[in-house]
Symmetry: C2
Subunit: 342 residues, 2 copies
C-alpha cells in the first residue's frame, strides 16, 4: 500500500487519461469522480477502475470525447444516448440539461443508455443536493445478485443514491442492493479470508463461505426478499425507461471490450419546501445526538463516516494498493499500455 498525496494521485491519473486521448475537461471529470471515491474510503470505485477504463478506450468501447446525444422525449424526460462516453462525463452533461427543467417543472428525468460506468453514485447526489435539488439516482450492472430463493445471478447490484438539501450539509446515501460488492468478494479471495455466511452462492447455487468459489457464483440481495424486490424494481425502472439490457445480458463495466449496455436513471426533484428551512438538518442532528446502541460509539447519518474519512485523507493522502499505483504511473508515462491491452 502506498500513501499518495491527493494532488500527486490526481496528476498521475490525469496524465494517464490524457495519454489515452481524453480531452482535458473529460479527464478532469473522470479523475475527479475516482479521487472522490478514494477520498471517501471507497477504493472499489476509485483509481483501480482507471486501467480498465483506459483499456476500454484503446479497445474502442469507451469514447472519452463523447458527451452524449440529447433528445427530449417530453419536456421533463431527457433521453441520452451516451455514445460510449465516459460515465461521469455523459451523466454530468445530462444533469446540467435536466436541472433547469426540474426547477421549471418541479421534476425532470434523465434516462441514459450506452454510457460507461457511473462510479460512485453519491458523487452525483451530493452535487445535485448542493444545488438545492433532490436526486434519486439508479443504475444497473452486470447480473451478480441471485433472486431471493434462486440459484443463479440474474439481477444487477443495482445501486440507489438519494441526495437531498437539508438546510445544512446535504444528505447523501448510496447503497447497492447486493449484500456486499463483488469487489469485496475478490478482496476476500485475494486475502484467503472466508466470507460471512449468507453473503454468496457458488457456481452451483449452493451457499458458500469460500470467496474463491463465490467469484463464479452469485451475491445475495441485501435484506433477503426485500432487497431482492428493490434491486429487481430498479432493474425494471432503468431498463424500462432507458432501453438498457436486462439481467445477464448486461456487459461492459467489468470487462475490457464489450460495449456497456447498462442504463442510468436520474430523477431530479425541486426540493422547494425543504430549502433553507434547516428542519431536515435539525432532525438529522437529533438522530446523531440520540443514544448509541451497545457496541456503537455514536449514531451516524449515511455519509458521516465518508465525510470524516475524506477530511483525514485530504490531509494525509490516499492509501492506494501498490499494484494500482504502479500501473497508473506506468500508464501516465506511456510505458505499459501495450502490455495491458489484451
Amino acid at each position: 500500500m502506498s500513501v499518495v498525496p491527493v494532488s500527486e494521485a490526481e496528476r498521475v491519473a490525469l496524465q494517464a487519461l490524457r495519454r489515452a486521448g481524453a480531452p482535458e475537461e473529460a479527464a478532469r471529470t473522470q479523475v475527479g469522480l475516482l479521487l472522490e471515491a478514494e477520498l471517501r474510503g471507497v477504493p472499489s470505485h476509485g483509481l483501480l477502475r482507471l486501467p480498465r477504463l483506459i483499456r476500454r478506450i484503446h479497445n474502442g468501447v469507451a469514447n472519452p470525447a463523447a458527451t452524449g446525444q440529447h433528445e427530449w422525449r417530453a419536456p421533463g424526460m431527457l433521453s441520452v444516448n451516451g455514445e460510449n462516453g465516459l460515465g461521469p462525463v455523459v451523466a454530468l452533461a445530462a444533469l446540467e440539461a435536466v436541472k433547469p427543467r426540474a426547477r421549471e417543472l418541479g421534476v425532470a428525468v434523465a434516462a441514459i443508455s450506452n454510457s460507461n460506468h457511473l462510479g460512485m453514485l453519491a458523487w452525483y447526489a451530493e452535487q445535485v443536493a448542493a444545488d438545492g435539488l433532490a436526486l434519486i439516482a439508479l443504475t444497473t450492472s452486470e447480473a451478480l445478485v441471485h433472486p431471493w430463493g434462486g440459484r443463479r445471478a440474474l439481477v444487477g447490484t443495482n445501486p440507489i443514491a438519494v441526495g437531498a438539501p437539508t438546510g445544512g450539509r446535504p444528505f447523501v446515501m448510496d447503497t447497492a442492493t447486493g449484500v456486499v460488492s463483488m469487489g469485496k468478494i475478490h478482496d476476500h479471495a485475494n486475502r484467503g479470508a472466508p466470507l460471512e455466511p449468507g453473503w454468496a452462492l457458488d457456481a452451483e447455487g449452493r451457499p458458500t463461505t469460500n470467496a474463491e468459489a463465490a467469484k463464479a457464483g452469485a451475491i445475495a440481495p441485501f435484506g433477503g426478499a426485500k432487497g431482492y424486490a428493490l434491486g429487481l424494481a430498479f432493474e425494471l425502472l432503468v431498463a424500462g425507461l432507458t432501453g438498457s439490457a436486462l439481467g445477464d445480458a448486461v456487459k461492459g463495466t467489468l470487462d475490457d471490450d464489450a460495449v456497456c449496455n447498462k442504463g442510468d436513471l436520474f430523477i431530479v426533484l425541486d426540493a422547494g419546501l425543504a430549502a433553507g428551512e434547516g428542519r431536515l438538518a435539525a432532525y438529522l442532528d437529533l438522530i446523531r445526538e440520540s443514544p448509541p446502541a451497545e457496541g456503537f460509539d455514536t449514531v451516524r447519518i449515511p455519509g458521516d463516516r465518508a465525510h470524516q474519512v475524506r477530511a483525514g485523507r485530504l490531509e494525509s493522502g490516499l492509501p492506494i494498493a501498490d499494484e494500482v499505483w504502479l500501473q497508473l504511473q506506468a500508464l501516465a508515462e506511456g510505458a505499459v499500455h501495450e502490455e495491458t491491452v489484451p
Copy 2:
C-alpha cells in the same frame, strides 16, 4: 377466525363507513383498498384498520368527504393538502390529476400532506402500472424504527412501492424499510411467541426477543445500515417535498384522535420505452423459470404470492379475525360506535 365471502365483507364494511358519514364513492374507494389487502393476505393493512378509521371520523380527524386541495407548485409538481381526507380517496384524486401530466411531461409528482393512512402501497402501484405508467410511491409513518447503531425509534417504517408496466402483468413491489411491521410484533405478543433475534429493541434500546417488551421499543431497519439509509432517505424526501412531520413528531395512523401529519410522495413516470414490448415480462419469466435454491419450490417475482393468494380468496372467502368481523358487523348496524369512541 371467520371465513367471509368477499361480497359480504364488502357489504358490511361499506355499511359501516356509510353509517360514519362517508359519501358512497369515498366509502367504495376506502373499502376497495382494505379488501384488496385482505385478498392478498396482508391483514395488517386490511379490515382491522376500519374501526380505528371510523373512530377517527367520529373524532373529527378524518373527513370522509374531503378529496384534497390541489395546487400546482410547478407544471409537474402537484401539492395536495389532504384536508384530513381518507388516504386512498385523497391519493387517487391526486393520481388522477398527475397521470395526464406525466404523459405530457414524461414525469410528474404528487406531494401529499394532511391525509390519512394510505394503506397498502401496492394497490396504487398496480393501478398506475396498469395504465401504462411507472410509479415510485413513498410514504412515512410514526417513528417505529431505530437508526442503525441507535437505541430509540426515530425513523418511520417508510415503505416504498414500485409499479412498472412490463408488457405482461404489471410488476409491483411494496416493502417497508423496517425488518418487520409493528403489526407482526403485536401479533407475536398476542400469541406469546418469541421474536427472531435482530428484529427489535426494548424500551431501553437493548436487543430483545420478547414481543411484549418490543411493543414499547423499536423495530430494526431491514438489512442493517442499508435499510436504515433507505428509510431515512425516504423520510427526508417525503418531508422535504410535502412539508410533513419528521421522526417522532409523526402521528395519526396508529391513534384515534391526532391529525395525521405524515406525508405521501408519488412519482409517476411515462414508461414509454417499455410499453408493449414484452421485454420486461420475458425477463421476469426467465427469473421465474430459473432453478430454485435449496428449501424453495420456485423462484418468485414480488407480487406472485399475493396474486396466487388473491385468486384463492376470491373463490373461498376472506379469513378475518373474529373480533374484527364482530366489530365491523356492529359498526354496520350502528350498535357499538358509542363504546368504541374513546
